[in-house]
Amino acid sequence: MSKKVTIYIDEKPYQAEEGQSVLQLALANKLDIPHLCYHEDLKIEANCRLCLVEHENKIVTSCNLKASEGMKISTKNKELVEMRQENLKLLLASHSKNCPKCKKNLPCPAFGLMQKYGVTSDEYQRKMLDLAIHKMVGAAELDPNLCVRCGRCVNSCADIGINFLKLEGTSSDNHLTYNENPKVDCIYCGQCTVHCPVNAIREISHLEQVEAALADPDKILIAQMAPSVRASIGEEFGQEAGLNLEKKMFTALRQLGFEKIFDVNMGADITTVVEAKELGDRLRKKFAGEKTVLPMFTSCCPGWVKFLEFYYPDFIDHLTTARSPHIHSGGAYKTWWAEKTGTDPSKIIMVSIMPCTSKKYESEMEKLTFDFQGHKLKPVDYVLTTREMAALLKKNKIDLPNLSDSEADREGTYSGAGAIYGASGGVMESALRSAAYLLTGKELPKIDLEEVRGMKGIKRATIKIGDKEVKVAVVATARNARTVLEEIKHKKADYDYIEFMACPGGCIGGGGQPLTGTFAIIKKRIAGLYSIDAKKTVRRAHENKIVQEFFNYLADKPSLASQILYTSYSAKNKFE
């Protein structure tokens, strides 16, 4: 147990853990100290100089000031307030003018600080650098002229294990840019965007396209929401992390004008069945002593897949050929649902609401298109991040927490297995629930696989399926992926099945999630997902009646099935 110390902030006593910073303590007690470069999961930089406090007659930053017994801190004197305000004016010079988001009047943390501290961002002019916006393919973009050089994106990119972003140059030329090393590339995970306090790194927006489609009477709009979004979007509306708002989201999506409300969770059930079957096949071969490629890797995270295709292309054969959940359901709705309802599939606009930026990149992949009823179709047309969806709701004055509940349309029905896809370990657990049945004809004795749950970056377990042992691992972040891939490369491990995700905690900690995210918040969101699963009567993907109906439809259409269920991979170059 760590020692407690008493410190005085503005003459009031507070209990702090020894070693805790004054800023952490203040935030934990809801005291107001402005800050931009501080993020509780990242390295302390103390660059922005906003979190100034007074200690022993000196003005110091509170982010790196450790609490010690009897310490006296002032946060309110006039000089401090002036200093913070002046700093903010300098830091955000010309911010509103340059921010495409602000032109849409969408709030960001910088905007909040400006309002709170009476800064307009027009007090000073910013030095404009002759630097172009860099696009990380279809996923995200960085605008060096909006950046406040706080270093959060750079440090989060390093923590993920990529080191694509960097701050370069001295004095006012110090700017955000990317690593030119040909062996280093972005994997589109978007962790930079979820750590940027000023929208200098942001998702590539699909909002305008979605709004245009919603206004187009000739289009049929279908919304499908990823597992994670329902447990996090409430944070954008001041709700507790992990609170499941799916039923209110279904109502909200209808209010926005979507005609059909389906669910990526249903797609996750499709993925589970396809993937479990492939795993079953590979394991069966292994048990029979035949040649097969193991361990099998999951492929539902496009960031992870890009990581493998760029950094470890020799491992491509290990990836499951199953497509990812929203691509599966998108394909299903544009074929099976369209046909059974007599809907023109070329008029359908599939919009996925995802906790992710790499799903935008995935949605644009040519290789995922398919031919149906004489049309060449994309499984998903647009991807909105959780943040974009919240912005769209706010813009339409839809007060999400206070909406009445409603259900998704019938074809959005999902099992508990689909719900946990959002958490690291969820894909593995779902697949094993179904693979066990496919291999043995019996269900696993215990449905909850606790050993693959939780925030740990690498989880290892051995699961008994019948009389056989299956060795599995669950890996989150590229840094940990590298560790495990090196183990395999050097034959230090003999896994059968590995789940990989680019982001900490899995999709629930994804790059498209609300900026409120921290490891502590992500844990709460994860708890939300597992409680959805626990309450479901159908908890195995293969028992989902909708999924069964979809597979029955495909049973006599092998060509269509191969087009909309499977994919392939190839080595990738930088910026590809």
Partner: protein
């Protein structure tokens, strides 16, 4: 000589850091000596990034053996054999023929002195930035704590001294120290580096070196960027602080000329890490860029910026813009900024 004896001599001679901070050397030595780390480093700082200051160059040109001896004494005191000689590229190129043979000579005595060549910059001489540079990291300052004496480079304590301090150490050890220091003089008739009494008054130094101007003037003492401004009258009682330099300006120097020099220097030399220094210095430069040479100086706009640089900058670089600007305003113009 006994180690304890040297420590007492350093204390009695009043040896202080000559990089500008004037911290008593013996305290630093003792603190590091008392640490149980198996490995410690001695580092000599020959970055000398202040405008116009050349005393470290002068010392290396004329007394490099003593500087290396000072390093050796410090290494012996800490019972270590490894050190870094951190020198800016311009200096190294001119002094290579003196430094390289000394490194070789000490190598034969089994002292490893690594020459680290720095790309010349103001920040490069800042303690944290210097240590980061040696470790191959970004040349930016570090937090004050832990002190380099505890955690300097590669996880080990570092005894870091300026060139002149190490020279003083060698002089003390051989009982030749005479409470003098080196002063760079600029803007006079006989510019150069002079050995002067450590507590000499500025005007006296100018007279003794035949640099006292025959025109009206003011001086900047302790660095051509960060040094304080004194009038001709104040120079009679002011002592030479900081890194010991004296720069003479004729009274005809315009506010614009003086402030441009300072603002341009800070704008160029900020490392870019923290808001007040990076953005503040650029805004200051821009304020003057928009003026013609005879316009009023916009003090009302300058004031909040230099204040936030003073109170809010991450390291000493940003803070050090305040003494020259504030003392210039006060002593020359009679205004409080």
């Amino acid at each position: 000589m006994q180690q304890e004896e040297l420590l007492i001599k350093l204390e009695q001679a009043g040896i202080v850091g000559r990089g500008g901070a004037a911290f008593p050397a013996h305290l630093k030595w003792k603190r590091i000596k008392d640490l149980s780390n198996p490995k410690k480093y001695v580092v000599c700082n020959a970055s000398e990034g202040e405008i116009g200051v050349q005393k470290d160059f002068y010392i290396l040109q004329n007394f490099s053996e003593e500087v290396f001896k000072g390093m050796m004494l410090a290494m012996d005191f800490l019972e270590t054999k490894e050190g870094y000689f951190y020198i800016n590229r311009n200096y190294y190129e001119q002094l290579k023929s003196k430094i390289d043979p000394l490194v070789e000579l000490f190598k034969q005595k089994s002292y490893i002195i690594n020459v680290f060549i720095e790309e010349p910059s103001y920040i490069g001489g800042e303690t944290g930035a210097l240590l980061n540079a040696i470790e191959g990291k970004k040349v930016q300052p570090r937090f004050e704590s832990p002190s380099p004496s505890v955690l300097g480079i590669f996880g080990c304590p570092v005894l870091l001294h300026n060139v002149e301090t190490l020279y003083d150490v060698a002089r003390v050890a051989t009982d030749k120290f005479e409470k003098t220091r080196f002063s760079t003089i600029l803007g006079g008739n006989k510019n150069g580096v002079y050995r002067v009494n450590a507590d000499e008054k500025v005007a006296e130094v100018l007279r003794k070196t035949n640099n006292y101007p025959d025109f009206d003037f003011f001086v900047q003492v302790g660095g051509g960027a960060s040094g304080e401004i004194f009038t001709k009258e104040q120079a009679e009682t002011a002592t030479i602080g900081g890194c010991g330099s004296i720069e003479i300006y004729p009274s005809t120097t315009t506010d614009y000329d003086f402030l441009s020099k300072i603002f341009n220097f800070y704008e160029k030399e900020s490392c870019g890490k923290c808001t007040p220094c990076r953005d503040g210095s650029w805004q200051l430069k821009k304020l003057l860029d928009g003026l013609d040479k005879k316009s009023e100086i916009p003090w009302l706009e300058i004031k909040p910026i230099i204040k936030v640089m003073e109170k809010g900058s991450f390291c000493g670089l940003g803070k050090s813009i305040v003494p020259p600007v504030r003392s210039y305003a006060k002593n020359i113009l009679g205004i409080e900024v």
